[in-house]
């Protein structure tokens, strides 16, 4: 399933980006406000093979991509794989931290809210989640930057590390992570909270929970072993969905925080119409999403033996 999906993703993104107006050579040779000479632009387009028919260009790209060569950036002439590899750690660390944080916190808060249904905590959680789902992440980022970085000056406005940090390097890097991690995990958190809350409520209403209680098991054991563990089964599917969300969301977050990651790099490539880079970034992004779903399936099998056995 993975290979045909990737093939279609590449075909569609190739079609979309080439259907959009714009020309990479014109963009990178027009430095500042000046316009490159017509002859120079034409010659470079010819050299790069951009004047060939589109299907020919796509097949040429595909042939190389299958062999692991994603081509060279039209702008910087460096191998796309090398450029992405350079940018990937920054994206992965931000996404990884945010995923772990939003998942653990979300499951915790959601479970408590379900157990203490209609309590003040539950209402507060609902309002929080409702607000969260209606606030765009770029807006939230800008407010946080304005308050914590510009007004208070406690945290940096963006990027991943300072040039010559005043304190220890790890502290400086940690400070740079704070705001983007807050925004990224907050957006994920509310989804986890809402799903976990309803899943836990459902579990608590099950017959086996009532039976366990009737048996006289202590309520902690009932909550943990019977209700909570079972509530996690449907939640695991959220994992794949979360990764898709994180990858999509990173295009906004990385831009706003000037994060040196792959999404920011890909966004810049779109503005410059750097076709090979756009194709590469799209492909890697979709590999993440597909892998996320694959992991979710595997976890689901692991948690719920019924599925494993039926296969």
């Amino acid at each position: 399933m993975v290979i045909p999906t990737l093939f279609f993703v590449s075909l569609i993104s190739f079609a979309i980006i080439r259907a959009a107006p714009g020309d990479p050579v014109r963009m990178y040779t027009s430095s500042g406000m000046s316009k490159a000479d017509a002859e120079d632009v034409e010659r470079i387009r010819e050299n790069l093979g951009l004047n060939d028919p589109l299907p020919v260009q796509y097949v040429r790209w595909l042939e190389q991509a299958v062999q692991g060569n994603l081509g060279y950036s039209i702008v910087s002439h460096r191998p796309v794989t090398e450029l992405i590899a350079e940018k990937l750690p920054a994206s992965l660390s931000l996404m990884g931290i945010s995923l772990v944080l939003s998942m653990t916190l979300g499951i915790l808060i959601g479970s408590i809210a379900a157990v203490k249904r209609y309590s003040l905590f539950d209402y507060a959680t609902t309002i929080f989640a409702f607000l969260g789902s209606s606030l765009p992440s770029f807006w939230l980022s800008m407010i946080l930057i304005w308050f914590f970085a510009v007004r208070l000056g406690w945290l940096p406005t963006g990027q991943m590390h300072s040039f010559r940090p005043s304190g220890p390097v790890w502290l400086d890097t940690a400070k740079h992570f704070v705001l983007p991690v807050i925004v990224t995990s907050y957006v994920g958190l509310i989804v986890w909270v809402r799903y976990q809350r309803s899943s836990m409520i459902e579990a608590l209403n099950q017959d086996y929970v009532r039976t366990a209680r009737a048996k006289g098991l202590n309520s902690k054991a009932v909550l943990y072993r019977h209700a909570w563990r079972n509530s996690l089964v449907p939640i695991v599917t959220l994992f794949g969905f979360s990764i898709a969300n994180l990858v999509a969301g990173s295009y906004v977050i990385e831009y706003v925080f000037s994060w040196p990651g792959m999404a920011n790099f890909g966004f810049d490539a779109i503005l410059k119409r750097d076709y090979p880079v756009i194709m590469g970034v799209t492909l890697v992004s979709s590999i993440f999403i597909i892998t996320g779903n694959l992991i979710a399936d595997i976890c689901y099998m692991f948690i719920n033996p019924q599925i494993r056995n039926s296969r």
Partner: protein, 548 residues
């Protein structure tokens, strides 16, 4: 950041004044001058941290492939604040009587960053690589005159000749490393055997002759350079230069205010005001020859009428609109060339006069209440633009002012890359707003000369402006041998173009640079600006900093 040693500051000013004097006095004194801010010990020099910005970091550091506006390289000549050529790596030059042969005498004391002496072989090599079709250089056409390449030859170790197929008044500027030309002398010994220039290891590890040496670059994030103490003009005043990326002006301003960086170029009026009001910061300004203009499609059913174009210029209060939408200190242009010896004093200026606009339209037969009409044709057109900071505000202001005299202007805003294609390739517009100008040399021919029928897909003159008299004047200007002669033809061309009301000229590019008081020794480039914050300084090597 707030307290600065007074003695240091006054010394810096002395240094700046000395540079000003050398520009007038000629070359020899430049060699004697050493940055006064720099003490004997390396450690005492400060470092300079400035805003880079994603689009302002070069894609590669190889000036054959793209513009490299960092202080790594030198050209053969440079320009003073009045746009007169002065020596750079060539300490003198002669031009043959017929204007065809340029002989450059190179300095003999210049070494590349790796210690290898710079010689005539490097100059010829750089020129030949620029002309090599296999090297994907976007600057090849700079050395093609009338379809023929300029021939570069080495005479001896330090003498080079360039033979032109026909005289060209702008040729000398093309041997500089100025904006739009980027003729940066490259080390032959490092690039000689390279088969594919785009894959050269040099591109990520550049070696030049300029005042600073490359140290490290983290793609689109941070560039570090160190002082080249063997720089031929003298020892740089700072030991290190760092350029950092900021996602937007606000965050660069915040970093300036926090003292994290020393220099950032600003565009938004509010930010400039904040910088001016911040203690320890000052703002330097200069106008450039780039003018933001609306160009009309000359075969458009409405805009082909000179009366309509003139009425548009009269109906728009350009000066106040520019001050309101762009910056209170911005200047308004009136011609394709607005500053310097090439700017004509006799252009037709369309002052703000809505009554006159109405009268012109009435007389030309455009009548009616509301939107005017003529022979069933509504006086309506669309302006195409991309959101280059003030452009949407300017267009909105124009729309309102034009409505008052009965002209309907619709607005079509595109993303930058789409704009490039729609306007310059597809020529699909009624009127477009964009910057028009030039780097060093006032060569405006390509934007105003009649397009050859059926030539290439990309046009500098997408509006199809065509006036045979302008063609004659601009052609004569480009082959004229003396500046006086060029000036006469360029003035004539501008007078004709403005009489045609062939464009509506709005603001001049105003560079506004916020600087920390810790920085000294600088001189802004006057009108010959590079359009980027490395062009803030004329003599980067003279900059000093008290930042440790």
């Amino acid at each position: 950041m707030l307290s600065k040693p007074v003695s240091r500051r006054s010394v810096l000013q002395g240094g700046a004044a000395a540079v000003g004097a050398t520009a007038l006095g000629g070359v020899t004194s430049v060699q004697l001058l050493k940055p006064q801010g720099a003490a004997a010990q390396d450690d005492e020099r400060g470092i300079l941290i400035m805003r880079g910005g994603v689009s302002q970091f070069p894609p590669t550091f190889n000036p054959l492939l793209n513009d490299v506006r960092v202080w790594l390289y030198d050209g053969l000549v440079r320009f003073d604040t009045d746009v007169n050529p002065i020596p750079d790596l060539a300490e003198s030059w002669e031009i043959s009587e017929d204007g065809l042969v340029y002989t450059f005498h190179l300095r003999q004391d210049v070494v590349f960053h790796d210690g290898t002496p710079m010689t005539a072989a490097d100059v010829v090599f750089t020129a030949e690589k620029t002309l090599d079709e296999g090297v994907k250089s976007p600057y090849r056409s700079k050395f093609i005159i009338d379809g023929q390449p300029v021939v570069w030859e080495q005479v001896d170790d330090f003498t080079v000749t360039a033979t032109l197929p026909q005289p060209s008044g702008s040729f000398l500027s093309k041997t500089s490393r100025a904006d739009e030309v980027f003729f940066c002398i490259l080390p032959k010994h490092l690039l000689e055997g390279v088969e594919d220039m785009t894959q050269a290891e040099f591109n990520q590890n550049p070696v030049g002759t300029g005042p600073f040496k490359f140290v490290s670059y983290e793609t689109d994030q941070q560039l570090v350079m160190e002082a080249n103490d063997d720089y031929y003009q003298g020892r740089p005043g700072v030991k290190e230069v760092v350029r950092l990326n900021f996602p937007n002006e606000q965050s660069a301003l915040a970093a300036l205010q926090a003292g994290d960086i020393d220099v950032a170029s600003l565009r938004e009026a509010g930010n400039v005001k904040t910088a001016e009001e911040t203690e320890g910061l000052s703002v330097q300004r200069y106008d450039s020859n780039w003018v933001f203009a609306g160009r009309f499609k000359m075969d458009h059913p409405v805009l082909s009428d000179q009366a309509v174009r003139a009425a548009i210029s009269h109906a728009v209060d350009r000066e106040n609109l520019v001050k309101a939408a762009v910056s209170p200190t911005a200047s308004t242009g009136n011609s394709p060339i607005n500053i310097g010896w090439a700017a004509s004093p006799d252009v037709t200026v369309y002052e703000y006069d809505p009554e006159k606009a109405k009268a012109i339209l009435d007389e030309a037969g455009w009548t009616g209440d509301g939107i005017r009409e003529k022979d069933g044709q509504r006086l309506s057109f669309t302006v195409t633009l991309y959101p280059d900071y003030a452009a949407p505000d300017l267009a909105a202001g124009m729309q309102q002012l034009l409505q008052l005299v009965g002209i309907e202007m619709n607005i079509n805003q595109l993303e930058a890359a789409s704009f490039e294609t729609e306007v310059y390739q597809n020529q699909n517009f009624d009127m477009y707003l964009d910057w028009q100008g030039f780097g060093v040399d006032p060569d405006i021919a390509s934007r105003w000369i009649t397009n050859d029928a059926g030539t290439g897909t990309y046009l500098d003159n997408p509006s199809n402006y065509s006036n045979p008299d302008v063609d004659v004047a601009l052609t004569a200007a480009s082959t004229a041998l003396t500046q006086d002669e060029r000036q006469q033809y360029l003035w004539e061309a501008q007078n004709l173009i403005t009489a045609d009301a062939a464009a509506i000229w709005l603001q001049l590019w105003e560079a506004q640079i916020a600087l920390d008081d810790a920085i000294g020794g600088y001189e802004t480039p006057g009108t010959t600006a590079d359009m980027d914050n490395t062009g803030i300084f004329r003599e980067p090597w003279m900059i000093t900093s008290t930042r440790g």
